[in-house]
């Protein structure tokens, strides 16, 4: 599995990428939506994109909209990872085509649980 981590904060990219590495993902990083589209246009295949909302150049919602408009990218699972926590923003992102929504601050367990729900990591067995 490979994930594209899109955030203008390299601190946040490192945190998200580190968590995904621990879950068995390879990661590629991009600092905004346009850079992420450039990664995808270069032929890199990813299974998951973790997308911040507020970024310069191209924001996360625009990225989601553009990915959803491209049939060649329909297999990518899109998860917003953002401070935008108002219900109306969550609805906007899901309506644009995001599959899941994770609000910052988050824990590593929260990422794992979201990916379990999305079927991208096996469900952890609780004793």
């Amino acid at each position: 599995m490979r994930a594209l981590v899109i955030d203008d904060s390299r601190t946040m990219r490192r945190i998200v990428s580190g968590t995904l590495h621990n879950l068995g993902f390879e990661t590629v990083e991009a600092e905004h939506g346009q850079a992420a589209l450039d990664v995808l246009d270069s032929g890199v295949h990813v299974d998951l994109a973790c997308i911040d909302w507020n970024m310069p150049v191209m924001d996360g919602l625009t990225f989601v909209t553009q990915v959803r408009a491209d049939p060649a990218l329909r297999d990518i699972t899109l998860m917003m990872v953002t401070t935008e926590s108002e219900q109306s923003q969550i609805v906007r992102a899901l309506a644009a085509g995001a599959h899941e929504y994770l609000i910052k601050p988050f824990t590593a367990d929260a990422i794992r649980e979201k990916l379990e729900w999305l079927g991208l990591v096996p469900a952890e067995e609780y004793v």
């Binding site: 904060s9 390299r10 601190t11 507020n54 401070t83 108002e86 910052k104 601050p105």
Partner: protein, 150 residues
């Protein structure tokens, strides 16, 4: 905004940010007891809240504490040197997450500016302090403040 952004909510946000992103479940962010010492070498991180309700969420601490926060956030060793770029990015991201959650307390949907970090907090004409939380992180002072503009 003071009624909507009450001190308990801002404290809950700050505590949640520090426990989730920095300290784990240890809960190292506590109310400051007693008089707050004057900052000798302050560093500010802030984001502006834009839209119908305008304001600012800001963190202030001593520069060495900001370095320690960046090391904790980036999972660096206590002796590792934090680059200026990492300091600005990490400290700014803490303000960004605090500000984003403060924005969610407002009655109308707005947008969030990009985080900024500097040794001086630029004043905003007509701004009034809505909340100021004096906190302690690992025994060092941190102030979380929310302003209302206009």
């Amino acid at each position: 905004m003071s009624a909507m952004v009450d001190s308990d909510s801002v404290y809950a946000i700050a505590e949640s940010v520090f426990s989730a992103m920095i300290d784990g479940d240890e809960g190292l962010l506590l109310p400051w007891e007693g008089d707050l010492p004057q900052f000798a070498d302050p560093l500010y991180a802030w984001v502006d809240l834009l839209g119908e309700w305008q304001g600012r969420a800001a963190l202030t601490t001593e520069a060495p504490t900001a370095h320690a926060l960046a090391r904790a956030l980036l999972m660096m060793g206590d002796d590792e040197v934090v680059s200026d770029a990492d300091l600005i990015d990490a400290f700014g991201e803490i303000a960004n997450v605090v500000g984003g959650n403060v924005k969610a307390l407002l009655p109308t949907q707005g947008t969030l500016g990009l985080p900024r970090v500097d040794a001086v907090l630029p004043p905003h004409e007509g701004g009034s302090l809505s909340q100021e939380l004096r906190l302690s992180w690992r025994g060092q002072p941190i102030v979380v403040a929310v302003w209302l503009f206009g």
